[in-house]
Amino acid sequence: MNKISAGMSRKAFLGALGKLMLLLEGAMSIPLFRGKARAFGAQKKTQEPGQRKFGFAVDIDKCIGCARCVEACKSENGVSKEPFYFRTWVERYSVRRGGKVDVDSPNGGLDGYPAQKNPKEVERTFFVPKLCNHCQDSPCVQVCPVGATFETKDGVVLIDEDYCIGCRYCIQACPYGTRFFNPEKGTADKCTMCYHRITKGLKPACVEVCPTHARVWGDLNNPKSEVSTFVRNHKVQHLKPHLGTNPKVFYNGLDEVVS
């Protein structure tokens, strides 16, 4: 044992350490320090009064698979017309006798859907529109190494195109497959709920053009908004609720085979 450690016994050292920890714990509860402490991870989702929280709902029973939403999304947001890039797309589910499930979405639905093979085997078939779920606890936001994807105060998950380094980690992390790599910009890309429209009081482009009102959008904090009314009056579900992502996109008429 050398001179320095001889100055303090192990017991005294541990005791002092304990007191220091208690002191730090106390300091965290002082409001002045709390803000700083939160910046290091434990970010609390507080909503200021009067703050909007945008949400989205999809009524599967009303979707006719016309893909007008896909077309509108592509032209509103300048998404490449090539058939691999979609911010929203429409899937056709075909559940066959015996439980086999086929899912297809040729060109996101824009090219129409070919006739099903052995149509007599198909027990039930329906369309499911897909888009970013704008999760409250989003895996993509958690994994971004540079803070280039985030959830705004009004509940929309966005990408900072100037800050994105194109590492594609968020694309891997999204359990809904809604993100893609935009080769023109060199960044990740996805649905913004038409943030440039909704902040000006307009509907998202897909909601605007949907002919059957299968897509509903609005402020979840306003009980009179279209989406709040829809969520109140339908038995809605989330996609993959077991992942605990808390999406702000609600589905009515969701079949158990849809994931």
Partner: protein, 155 residues
């Protein structure tokens, strides 16, 4: 303090640590965008960047503010749930300069396949939705008989 000062290596480590922290703080100040952390762990101005993307769809209200006749006609028919731009496409350019940009017509106007995007018969479509088979006046354009604005008979 002689050659055998036992705390000397600790002091060196402390100086190195402080230099490291100071260096990091300078680096952080230079590299961090000013709005980072304004709302959360992201660049605050990125919200405005997203909000300032250009618009292309005008919205139903803008269309009927001039074309109120079509708006009223549409309200009476089965197509009342549609927005003008569902068929006519993005029309903000036309709304901004209606004379210069006359392109707010459906891209495939008069083409049977255009109506069949929605009204083609498909098993996956909900049963309540009006679906037309290929055997219904095969090959003719739908708008020969149907008025798309009100769905009244044209002839």
């Amino acid at each position: 303090m002689g050659r055998h000062d036992p705390t000397r290596h600790l002091k060196r480590a402390l100086v190195l640590l402080l230099l490291g922290v100071a260096g990091f703080m300078v680096f952080r100040r230079v590299m961090r965008p000013p709005s980072f952390g304004q709302f959360g762990l992201y660049r605050g101005t990125a919200v405005d960047d997203n909000a300032s993307q250009p618009l292309r769809y005008a919205g139903q209200a803008v269309c009927v503010s001039c074309h109120d006749d079509f708006g009223a006609e549409k309200k009476r028919g089965e197509h009342r749930t549609l927005s003008c731009e569902t068929c006519h496409g993005a029309a903000l350019e036309h709304a901004k300069s209606p004379i210069a940009v006359l392109s707010a017509r459906p891209k495939e106007e008069g083409v049977r396949a255009f109506c069949f995007h929605c009204h083609g018969s498909k098993a996956a479509r909900p049963k309540w939705f009006s679906q037309i088979g290929e055997d219904h006046f095969p090959g003719s354009a739908c708008i020969k008989c149907h008025n798309p604005h009100s769905l009244e008979w044209v002839r």
